[in-house]
């Protein structure tokens, strides 16, 4: 069975002091620390491409694990901010930058905050069907490239990061059966208009707070589990307030929901693998529930587990 073996990440060196930035919008520091949750936002440089961030995440994976460059036979990049408007696909650019063999299946997935949950299942399914041995799932979505720094709603929220997850037949963490849902009628609530990200904060918050708990409960029911059976809940880190609003629907296990956005901001599809790298991959936990939700609107829930 294909499972997760290792995870690594990359953050740009430059960061924005979010409390300072909030002053521009006449927002008190408590709004940043208590509600948004992100006091620093990593930001890619203007010349740094999505493929550059992706490459550094994979290089960190190669350094921190036993994976060898020549072993990689499949490569997926989850992004909605690809190099050169997506043509050629960023995963092909990445294959070149990493000097990987040409015997690599490589493609992009255009998804936002649900992308990691989708990506795990897509790569696992591909590897099992095609008999591939070592796949790398990359998330890299530098929203700083589409944020209007004069827009209070988005500029206080998003940070840039990239992650790389190694999937292998020797992976310790198994990947469950996901639930994936889509509501395109909500697409206008989180979209790019005139080159900049637009977010209807209330509608996105409402969607996350009401819809995600329902999907988590559906997933648990389908798998004959209760929330108490889950060791840790690693949800997309939309904001501290969103995590709090969702976790309130699970009062008996509220403290098992990780809220960790302080020095990352909302890193879109990278937020879940960042949590897995930090809290899960080398832990003693057995069952970890993942849920990603956002642009689309798209939301997806799954569990990773080990015996």
């Amino acid at each position: 069975m294909i499972g997760i073996k290792s995870i690594a990440s990359y953050f740009p060196e430059t960061t924005i002091d979010n409390i300072e930035q909030a002053k521009k919008f006449e927002q008190p520091s408590e709004f940043i620390t208590d509600k948004i949750g992100a006091v620093r936002l990593p930001v890619a440089s203007e010349e740094q491409l999505t493929s550059d961030m992706a490459m550094l995440a994979v290089e960190n994976l190669l350094k921190s694990s036993d994976l060898k460059r020549e072993q990689i036979d499949s490569l997926i990049v989850v992004t909605q901010n690809p190099d050169n408007a997506g043509l050629p696909h960023t995963s092909a650019i990445l294959q070149k930058k990493l000097e990987l063999s040409s015997n690599v299946a490589a493609f992009d997935i255009s998804l936002g905050c649900s992308g990691y949950v989708y990506g795990l299942s897509i790569l696992k399914g591909l590897m099992e069907q095609a008999g591939l041995k070592n796949g790398v799932l990359v998330t890299a979505d530098p929203y700083s490239k589409i944020i209007d720094r004069e827009d209070r709603v988005t500029s206080l929220l998003f940070g840039d990061a990239a992650t790389a997850t190694w999937l292998s037949s020797e992976g310790e963490w198994q990947i469950g059966k996901p639930i994936m849902q889509t509501d395109g009628s909500g697409g206008k609530e989180l979209c790019v208009r005139d080159g900049f990200l637009h977010m209807n904060g209330r509608q996105v918050f409402n969607f996350a707070a009401l819809t995600v708990p329902k999907q988590i409960n559906s997933w648990l029911g389908d798998n004959h589990l209760s929330a108490d059976d889950i060791d840790l809940f690693c949800l997309h880190q939309g904001s501290a307030s969103i995590i709090d609003a969702i976790s309130r629907r699970f009062p008996s296990v509220k403290d098992r929901f990780i809220s960790d956005i302080e020095v990352t901001g909302n890193t879109v599809s990278s937020s879940i693998p960042l949590l897995l790298e930090k809290y899960v991959i080398h832990s003693e936990h057995k069952r970890v529930l993942l849920s990603g939700f956002g642009v689309g609107l798209s939301w997806a829930t799954n569990m990773i587990f080990k015996e």
Partner: protein
């Protein structure tokens, strides 16, 4: 029927420790210490209780807790 107690209970459910007096219900959100995310949170709790969604157009005209009560009781 949504009333001041409904609002107080919903606000309490969000984890807010703001203690509302009757005069607070007619004040702008900001004047009683509610920021935008507090209001989003409150409306989510109220939607769970009432089953009523508030459109963006209507939301833009709701400037106080009393406005919310009046709108949800329409």
């Amino acid at each position: 029927m949504v009333n001041e107690e409904t609002i107080k209970e919903a606000l309490g459910n969000t984890g807010s420790d703001i203690e509302l007096t009757t005069s607070d219900f007619t004040k702008p959100y900001k004047d009683i210490g509610l920021d935008s995310l507090d209001v989003f949170n409150l409306l989510t709790e109220l939607e769970l209780v009432t089953g009523k969604e508030i459109s963006d157009e209507d939301f833009s005209e709701l400037e106080s807790l009393k406005d919310i009560i009046d709108h949800l009781n329409k």
